[in-house]
Amino acid sequence: MISNEQKLSRRSFLDWLLTGGLLAWAIGFAAPVLSYVWPAQHRGPSTQSVSAGKAEEFSDWQSKMVAVSGHPVVVVRTPQGFRAFSAICTHLGCIVAWNASQHQIDCPCHAGVFDVNGRVVSGPPPRPLAEYGVAVVNGEVMVKSA
């Protein structure tokens, strides 16, 4: 920094100006490039519902995988009704699968196990699976996007 006694010479003023100008020029170029590389995302509410098939096609503890807005969702019929969970494991993003014999949801990657409410039973997942709304409309199992 320049002390009070020192005067800013014409030469060093020009040096500062030039350095600042070059920096601004570089930022001016980098900014549009960086924002171009940043993924363009379509956000906003999505109220789409997706059919998982007829309710009568499901027996108790049977499941089906459906795509809701491009995301895999596992739909399970329990004696208490239908449940739907995001099939993306909260640990490292592998796709979980319904284990009909154990009535639980298993992750094939790092042995994560979730119960029928999507809660973590064992293994490394840090959070429960996200739940989707399910409604049976005219005998059709409809999964609402979250």
Partner: protein, 398 residues
């Protein structure tokens, strides 16, 4: 040389040929220290392999199409329809593995011979960046065939970056080009793999080679006590060392073609974003980090796995001893050997984890932590979910 004598007058009218010739002769005849041997050829081998990756990579690009609906099919076309496509892809895939191996051996040679010490610290630092660039090549190239293994290895690999505090989620989004691994990710990895990384690596290698030529190869003398090389007691770069490199280069070509023919690179199944296959593993050079990450919670695991690369990068500035000979550097050599052993042990554990082997008629299943569990009934694999439940850690997160 007759051809050169014919064109030399033409060149001499346009260029200052004596200066050019003196430069070439000086470079070719550059004296090397007497201990320069076969271990010193791994740097050049890495360079040959980089050239192999460029040539085979350009050839693969002719038929490869980087979209989710065509990537897998185009590789299948290369493997089955294009003439010698199996050879070109095989050389590219095996070349990648061998390149990582050669760079690693070259780094080990430099480490154990103390060649990274003053005044060559920057050459070492550039070398560590070259290594990082090489494995990033591996990571980005692995996704391109768009098969199940590559898709899920990339999903898990990029998900890990999401755990980095503050910037993690942004890095993950930037890498993937969206929330999940999609065609956007494929396009990004393709651009990185075929345009960005080749130029970055070329620049790094050029600077690395320039520094090596300017400063010369390290001798085994103590730092600051190096005597100028006596031309009578040194090895000329050409023809002695170049011939040595030629020999090892021929061995390499033979080994590569043998590997491609005997152990062909598989294509597997096309990526299915809705089904994760059992036992997905990264490439061998990521196995030790992959296994290490399992023993720690996500965030701590990232910090722990950052220690080895940081240590490598800063090593020339941490190790201040002037000695180069390995026998006179017991601490540094012990740390190096220990690091190497840890990498091998974790790599083997990573390889064994989530697999079943038969040993002396008894079947053992390794859980995710690579702890073996004896299976009670031989020749009968239990329901995988059941066995996993039995070995899963009792850490509940609710």
């Amino acid at each position: 040389m007759k051809l050169y004598e014919k064109i030399r007058p033409w060149l001499a009218q346009r260029f200052n040929m004596p200066v050019v010739e003196e430069f070439v002769e000086h470079q070719a005849g550059k004296p090397l220290p007497t201990h320069t041997g076969f271990w010193h050829t791994f740097g050049s081998l890495s360079l040959y392999l980089f050239l192999n990756q460029i040539v085979t990579g350009i050839l693969l690009m002719i038929y490869y199409r980087p979209t989710t609906s065509t990537a897998f099919e185009s590789i299948r076309f290369i493997m089955t329809k294009a003439h010698f496509g199996w050879l070109i892809r095989g050389l590219h895939a095996w070349g990648a593995t061998l390149m990582v191996l050669c760079v690693l051996v070259h780094m080990m040679r430099t480490f154990f011979m103390g060649a990274y010490k003053k005044p060559r610290e920057l050459t070492w630092v550039l070398g560590v960046f070259i290594f990082g660039c090489t494995i990033t090549f591996g990571f980005t190239g692995y996704l391109l065939p768009w098969n199940q293994l590559s898709y899920w290895a990339t999903t898990v690999g990029t998900e890990i970056t999401g755990a980095i505090p503050w910037a993690g989620n942004y890095i993950k989004l930037l890498l993937r080009g969206g929330e999940g691994v999609t065609g956007e990710t494929l396009a990004r990895f393709y651009v990185l793999h075929v345009v960005v990384l080749p130029w970055v690596l070329t620049m790094l290698v050029a600077t690395h080679l320039f520094l090596m030529r300017v400063q010369g190869l390290a001798t085994m003398e103590r730092v600051g006590e190096e005597k100028p090389l006596d031309p009578k007691q040194s090895i000329p770069f050409f023809p002695h060392h170049v011939l040595k490199e030629g020999v090892i280069f021929c061995v390499l070509i033979g080994a590569m073609v043998t590997l491609v023919v005997m152990w062909p690179v598989e294509l597997g199944e096309k990526a299915d974003p809705f089904v994760t296959p059992e036992g997905i593993k990264p490439e061998w050079y990521f196995l030790s980090t992959y296994q290490l990450l399992k023993y720690f919670p996500k965030l701590l695991g990232i910090f722990v796995s950052l220690i080895p690369p940081l240590l490598l990068l800063l090593w020339p500035f941490l190790d201040r001893s002037p000695e180069r000979h390995p026998r006179k550097r017991p601490v540094a050599v012990s740390i190096g050997v220990l690091g190497l052993l840890l990498a091998i042990v974790f790599g083997v554990l990573g390889h064994l984890s989530e697999s079943t082997i038969t040993w002396r008629g008894q079947r053992y299943q390794f859980d995710i932590y690579a702890v073996p569990h004896r299976l009670t009934a031989p020749n009968h694999a239990p329901d995988s979910a059941k066995s996993r439940e039995a070995v899963a850690p009792s850490t509940e997160h609710q």
